[in-house]
């Protein structure tokens, strides 16, 4: 019995470092992680380098958070996620702050370590030829129609005086 309790206690203590918390968990229960060491993993969506440190904004499954790390760690990142890029996946550990006193009360993680675990890539966005032709046709139709209606009005104006048109 005693041993079981000890094992459970040990497991509880080790839990935060044993498995990676998803960003959603961190943001949904911030009080229980505040000031504790957490591990994080997510796609890079923004890098802002400030002197010898940098903000790396990471995104995972609808949640995003800023990670404050060393600038050289941030320079390792090669792809930042946007429309045409899949950003690098970074992982690491750090201290989670619900309201970081150093950074004006922001929610953030101060990274202890941050490494690129999966390199991003360019996302090809080929032009949909069918859609493009359809759109060109509709645009042409719009131009032709307005020209035709304008022409009709001009013809009618010749025949009927305005107020009775």
């Amino acid at each position: 019995m005693k041993r079981a309790v000890l094992v459970i206690l040990l497991l509880l203590l080790l839990a935060p470092s044993a498995r990676a918390e998803t960003l959603r968990e961190l943001l949904d229960e911030p009080a229980s992680y505040d000031g504790r060491q957490v591990s994080f993993r997510g796609e890079v969506i923004g890098v802002i380098i400030k002197g010898d440190h940098a903000w790396v904004n990471i995104f995972d499954n609808g949640s995003a958070i800023g990670v404050w790390c060393r600038a050289e760690e941030a320079r390792e990142i090669s792809f930042i996620g946007d429309y045409t890029h899949r950003g690098d996946i970074v992982a690491g550990t750090g201290i989670f702050h619900l309201a970081c006193a150093e950074h004006g009360g922001d929610v953030d993680i101060h990274a202890i370590s941050l490494t690129v675990s999966e390199k991003g890539h360019v996302i090809e966005r080929p032009m949909d030829v069918l859609l493009f032709s359809v759109s060109a046709l509709i645009a042409l139709a719009a131009v032709l129609l307005s020209f035709y209606l304008w022409h009709l009005r001009k013809e009618r104006r010749k025949r009927v005086p305005w107020p009775f048109y």
Binding site: L27, D28, E29, P30, A31, I45, G46, I48, I49, K50, A54, W55, N57, F59, G62, S63, A64, I65, G66, W68, G81, D82, Y83, T84, L98, A99, A101, H103, G104, G105, D106, V107, D108, R125, P126, M127, D128, L131, F132, V134, S135, A136, I138, A139, A141, A142, L145, S146, L149, W150, L152, R153, W162, P163, Y165
Partner: protein, 508 residues
């Protein structure tokens, strides 16, 4: 005008005038949807061009059909203008939702409509599941919709249409004679409004860009983000380029730039006109500015001290950047956020949430890009309350005459008080209904009040209720609230009256 409207049944000509003037709205929408093509070309997003082309072409087709078949030379009267405004703010978002839906960045057509209405009304609630991977051209369109729809369109409407109604006679544009017809008035005021809007857009973009570069952003990104945030900041809209809202930048200076542009956006247009025309003292004498300043600072103080006493934010900087920033964002009805939405629901104390809801419901200045009941009405109602108290204390023979300073000394007439009270009541009724419907969906009371106030006051702060997984009924409810709130409830009443009249008496 109201009596006359009830007596005379609708004629086909009435519908014709409304439809004909909608054609112009359709043309403008077509132009607005065409512009992002330039952004798409600039950023090599050629695959996005068809979306805008289709949306723009459909708008132009509808526009020319309406123009041709409903052509009329009859002068637009106030009732037509009101109905036109109410219909236009449904019609134009419907058109603008076409490219948003085609781009596949929304989960359903309803979501695309929601996003588009949120854009046109300058609300800023978003259902986009992944803003960070959204194409720049679609993102630009969202922000541009807010600038055109709210930053320019709504001010034109409130100055030259809503301001002429009996209910808000004090709000009409001071820069012109009252006898001018509605159409010429719209044309003339739009010119001034576009001029001032573009000027503040340039100032805002410059501020955001400088702040961004100074914080270490790449200059190109700083400019693109800055332009977009200046558009939504001036329109007190609140869409942002990143899913984290302004928290993305982790920067005091970006937030300071945002505060500057938000407060400027929330100032009355009559005030802009007076101050930029040389009456600088107006800025401190104006009743509305005084009320706005007082309420904003008082609410900020309450929220900050509440946050401090709950032990959340221990430093002065964090109280300013979280407490005051959130209050200013709510009061100006912008909706830039520096706190993750879910923290407003789970971490912030209830008192702060209630104060924020109140701030959102009261809103910024009348005739500005902000929403809510508006400070001028709050000020007028408060003054009239004081007068009532005076009246009950003084002997019966004494006559209490109030006045207030709004560009010029204006007597506090019963008409003004009545109009303010009616509109405030309209907002409160809608607020109660919206809150009840949200509570029905299983959300907590304070979060429901917060989210409803955010939709009704066209704010865009969210506690996490607004998400793609929200129930369709709630989405439609919020779309209605955004629309009704932006048109100051008046236009909606008139539209309902128009429809009832048509149903009861038919169309002659």
């Amino acid at each position: 005008m109201w009596g006359a409207m009830v007596l005379t049944p609708l004629t086909k000509e009435d519908l014709r005038i409304v439809g004909f003037n909608l054609s112009r709205i359709s043309y403008v929408t077509g132009f607005v949807l065409f512009l992002p093509i330039i952004v798409a070309i600039f950023f090599n997003e050629f695959d996005n061009i068809p979306y805008f082309l289709i949306g723009s072409a459909i708008s132009f087709i509808l526009g020319s059909i309406l123009y041709h078949f409903l052509y009329t030379q009859a002068e637009m009267e106030l009732k037509h203008a009101l109905v036109m405004a109410a219909v236009a703010w449904l019609f134009a978002p419907l058109l603008a939702s076409i490219p948003i839906w085609l781009s596949g960045s929304m989960a359903s057509p309803l979501d695309a409509c929601f996003e588009s209405i949120s854009g046109f009304t300058g609300t800023g609630l978003t259902l986009a599941p992944d803003i960070d991977h959204m194409s720049r051209s679609i993102n630009f369109l969202r922000h541009f919709l807010q600038f055109m729809g709210d930053g320019i369109g709504i001010i034109v409407i409130s100055l030259s249409i809503l301001g002429r109604t009996e209910m808000s006679s004090v709000l009409a544009f001071k820069g012109e004679a009252k006898e001018v017809g509605i159409r010429p008035s719209i044309v003339r005021t739009s010119r001034i409004i576009i001029g001032i809007g573009v000027m503040f857009l340039a100032i805002g973009t410059a501020l955001f860009t400088v702040a961004g570069i100074q914080e270490g952003l790449d200059p190109g990104q700083a400019f693109f983000d800055g332009l977009n945030h200046a558009m939504t900041g001036y329109a007190t809209g609140g869409f942002t380029v990143h899913s984290q809202s302004l928290l993305y930048y982790h920067s005091l200076w970006v937030e300071v730039a945002a505060i500057v542009i938000m407060i400027i956006g929330a100032l009355n247009f009559n005030l802009h006109y007076a101050v930029l025309g040389g009456k600088r003292s107006e800025i401190l004498r104006n009743l509305e500015v005084r009320v706005l300043l007082f309420v904003m600072v008082a609410f900020g103080f309450l929220v900050s001290s509440n946050l401090f006493s709950s032990g959340l934010y221990p430093t002065a900087e964090s109280l300013f950047r979280k407490g005051f920033f959130q209050v200013i964002s709510a009061q100006t009805t912008t909706g830039f956020q520096t706190v993750p939405p879910v923290h407003l629901m789970l971490v912030w104390p209830v008192f702060s949430i209630l104060i924020l809801s109140l701030a959102m419901l009261l809103g910024g200045s009348a005739n500005s890009t902000s929403g809510g009941i508006k400070m001028l009405r709050v000020g007028v109602l408060f003054k009239s309350l004081v007068n009532e108290i005076k009246r009950s204390l003084l002997p019966r023979s004494a006559v209490v005459v109030g006045s207030f300073h709004h560009v010029e000394e204006t007597p506090l007439s019963d008409k003004i008080i009545r109009g303010s009270a009616v509109i405030a009541m309209g907002y409160l009724i809608l607020f109660t209904m919206g809150t009840m419907l949200t509570v029905l969906h299983g959300y907590g009371l304070e979060d429901s009040m917060f989210e409803t106030a955010s939709a009704l006051g066209n704010v865009g702060l969210t506690s996490g209720i607004t998400s793609p997984s929200m129930s369709p009924l709630l989405k439609v409810t919020y779309m209605f609230l955004m629309w009704a709130g932006k048109l100051e409830v008046i236009a909606v009443f008139v539209l309902i009256g128009f429809i009832l009249l048509a149903l009861r008496r038919g169309i002659k």
